[in-house]
Amino acid sequence: MAYPRRLLPQQNFNRIAWNESLRNCYLIHFTETTDLIDPATSKLRITLVVKQTDHLRDYSNNLLGVFLVDDIFWASQDCPRSEYFRAEWDGVSEIVPPDVPAEFTRNETRGYFFLRISQCHEDVVQFQDNTFVHPVCMLLHTPTNSNFWHFSLRWFFEGRDLESWTNGIKRRMKTSAKAFIVERAFFDEPFYEQLDPAIYSR
């Protein structure tokens, strides 16, 4: 099986700026386990978020549409070009498809969950202590050299993301991000459609 070309950035593609039609779309996030649901809460197990705490600055997801649920099983391998494939696409370069299985292979043991963009983008948590911090979740298109459909969730306060803050404000933002993901994750595959190509083509 070859790595799907439809996942790769194309020279006639543009980065996707925020577009209202994205609100009807869904994100998919992979996990290293299929044991996702805490039976006591029917929500995502907190351990799956806590392990990602170092990645909350730029919480990786994929936009469902051209990217199919089955594509979540493509995993990069430890190879000379692995950093290149993980790097952000420069917006112009044509990408040589990765080799299978040397550079990408299928990892069918992965699990996954979904996020509804309308419940994520611009969601605000208002702290009522004397910091009055109000982290805002934002969806950003962050295409990589191996995946044009890579999107990130980031949390901002006063225009700065959580890693640029220190101490109490950063702590409030991180706790809110963790709680947010546990609350918003769902597990039944949603009905999804491809984004209008006019939104990302030049």
Partner: protein, 210 residues
């Protein structure tokens, strides 16, 4: 009447009891029935033409909640110690005794909310992230160990209900739990005790005659 006295007085072939069983007496007018749950706690309904003896009832309920809280405290603290063995490297900057004291304080505070569920994980943010269910509220609570505050810790909570954030707050452990309590616990004991008294007696009994 003590729990042991109740057990001694009301143990029958239909209501087998062990010495450490929890006992919840029920006083109902004109009801000749009694019964027991399949597992602890065991409940007894006593026929009485008189008004319920509220004093006995209240002290037994109080004892029941205390025993339940103590048992859950031991379970959660044991779970913490297990996780600590695996992930204590996250907290290497802080004295073990200090971390343990703070975690004990948080577990005790959580149990005072009478939660239906508590879980937690140690994190590489030098924190312990808790999730708890209280009265249908989903409480996320994170205790950060930090050198930038003189207390050495900061507690932060987000509370969700029906998928929406209803409250977010940060501060000392005491302050944050006081805020949580004011948001979610106005009715927690009332609901719990009502369920214990009426819910169980209506649905879970295998009714038997004395």
């Amino acid at each position: 009447m003590s729990t042991l006295e109740l057990i001694r007085n009301y143990k029958t072939q239909y209501t087998p009891m062990e010495a450490d069983s929890l006992v919840l007496p029920f006083y109902m007018k004109q009801s000749p029935h009694s019964g027991s749950l399949e597992r602890n706690p065991i409940c007894i309904i006593m026929h009485s033409e008189e008004s319920p003896e509220v004093g006995i009832l209240a002290s037994t309920m109080s004892q029941y909640f205390l025993e339940k809280k103590n048992r859950r405290y031991i379970e959660l603290y044991t779970e913490f110690l297990t996780k600590w063995e695996q992930q204590q490297n996250y907290f290497s900057v802080f004295p073990k005794a200090f971390v343990f004291e703070k975690i004990k304080e948080v577990i005790d505070s959580f149990l005072t909310l009478n939660p239906s569920y508590v879980t937690f994980e140690l994190t590489s943010d030098c924190s312990v992230f808790f999730q708890s269910l209280v009265n249908g509220y989903n409480i996320y609570f994170e205790l950060y160990f930090t050198t930038d505050l003189k207390d050495g810790v900061e507690a932060i909570t987000n509370i969700y209900k029906d998928g929406r954030t209803i409250f977010a707050y940060g501060g000392s452990i005491d302050t944050v739990f006081s805020q949580i309590d004011s948001k979610v616990c106005q009715t927690s004991y009332e609901v719990e005790s009502t369920q214990s008294f009426y819910g169980i007696s209506e649905t879970a009994f295998a009714s038997t005659e004395f």
